[in-house]
Amino acid sequence: MAGREKRWRGLDRLEPADRSSRSTLVALVLTCATLITLDHVGGALDPARRLVGEVVGPAEDAANGVVAPFEAIPRWFHTKSGLEDRVEELEAQNAQLKQQVATTALDRNRLAEYDGLAGTATTLHHVLVPAHVIAYGPAQSFSQTVTIDAGTSSGIHADLTVLNNDGLVGRVLSATRTTATVVLLLDRHSVVGGRLGGSMEVGFLQGRGELSGGATLDLKLNDGAFVANEGDTAVTWGSEDGAPYIAGVPIGKVTAVYSSPRETSRRVEIKPFVDFTSLDLVGVAVPSGTRSDRGLVKPGKEATR
């Protein structure tokens, strides 16, 4: 080809050169069309593609290896304000992630509480309004009450049973539109009709006005001659129409039995199942068909659990 070119230039005849280049063009365009057709039909050019890839691929790899360090050069230069912005951004991100890590345990516990509450609703066959404890009454007032974040708009009114996934918490004393006050079992004025699970003996549980530490309840059995067993479980006895207490909610376990000769009944000490110092999610047992502005925890089918 080079030889022919030399001849054309040497002779300086443009016409044949023109004709020759035109025929080259036609030939090349036709070749291209053929190639496109072959590739369009499929498969025929794969070996060629692979071959070129085998040769050019390593070349590209090597070139990239040479280029990469230079490509990094612009990253060495930063403005001070740019760096400050970056530090700020990363600090914010870090704080956010730290917060996420810190609240993971809380989220997990909340989920477990909701699961437990749903389970309780199923066991008791009762509809529950979920609520969170938002305030504890001070000990100076000598009464053990808490405020929950659900009120009449959620279908809560006075004299409803409040429980959580461990057992009985107390009853609703009064309710405003969005909050309700709950008397805990531990309050001195709280009296709950209870029954010992092992013997069906009935009695009354009274709070002792202590919240912290190993808060206990006193159970006074109606049958003075009966001796309760340690470890026996006390459940609610239940009232008419489920107010203020629905039946069958676990309250606590017998930890000690005292008999005093002066009184006709024996005093039984009950340790409640509920940890009153860390109350969070509670459920308020409402009659079925209650209208509520929040999702109710409804008893599921026993078989599905």
């Binding site: 063009l25 090349l28 496109i36 050019l45």
Partner: protein
């Protein structure tokens, strides 16, 4: 001797193609990189005429079509660069020491870039290879044009000197 010259030209194309897919993506604007292979063909066309440039365009285009990241039908870039090589070759200043004006070189590169990228896009449109809308295509074509015009003063004169040096007639006359 002519084998070595051909090899040199092929090597230049290979370097252009490799740089086009390795180095320039770091500088890419909207993903569009300068068409180095096209600039090589332009330089060849302006110094060596239509036939040589068309053949060089065919080889370079085929490299672009077959080299690894390529996914389109083989022959599309080849077709575009063959036409570019031929057209730019026709613009060559006839005669022995004919050197094109610098403005002429830039204009030729711009025209070649527009022609080449458009042809490639058009074949894609006809073959429905990647389905791209025409406005998107025009944007890519224009960005490529700007890139090529920017790089022309840096690359094309040097390439033209190289091609002139390896021109058989000149070598034998000198």
């Amino acid at each position: 001797m002519s084998l070595i010259r051909g090899f040199v030209a092929f090597l230049i194309l290979l370097v252009a193609v490799v740089l086009q897919v390795t180095f320039f993506p770091h500088l890419a604007w909207h993903g569009v990189v300068p068409d180095l292979a096209l600039l090589v063909v332009v330089a060849a066309g302006l110094t060596r005429g239509p036939q040589f440039a068309a053949i060089l365009g065919f080889v370079g285009g085929l490299l672009l079509d077959l080299a690894p990241p390529a996914d389109h039908y083989a022959g599309r870039w080849a077709l575009a660069l063959v036409v570019v090589g031929y057209v730019v070759g026709r613009l060559r200043v006839p005669g022995q020491g004919g050197r094109p004006e610098p403005v002429m070189v830039v204009a030729a590169a711009a025209a070649a870039s527009f022609l080449g990228t458009s042809l490639f896009a058009l074949t894609g449109l006809v073959l429905k290879d990647p389905v791209v809308s025409v406005p998107d295509m025009l944007q890519v074509i224009l960005v490529a044009l700007v890139w090529d015009v920017l790089l022309t003063p840096l690359l094309v004169p040097a390439l033209m000197v190289l091609f002139r040096r390896t021109e058989p007639a000149r070598v034998s006359l000198a």
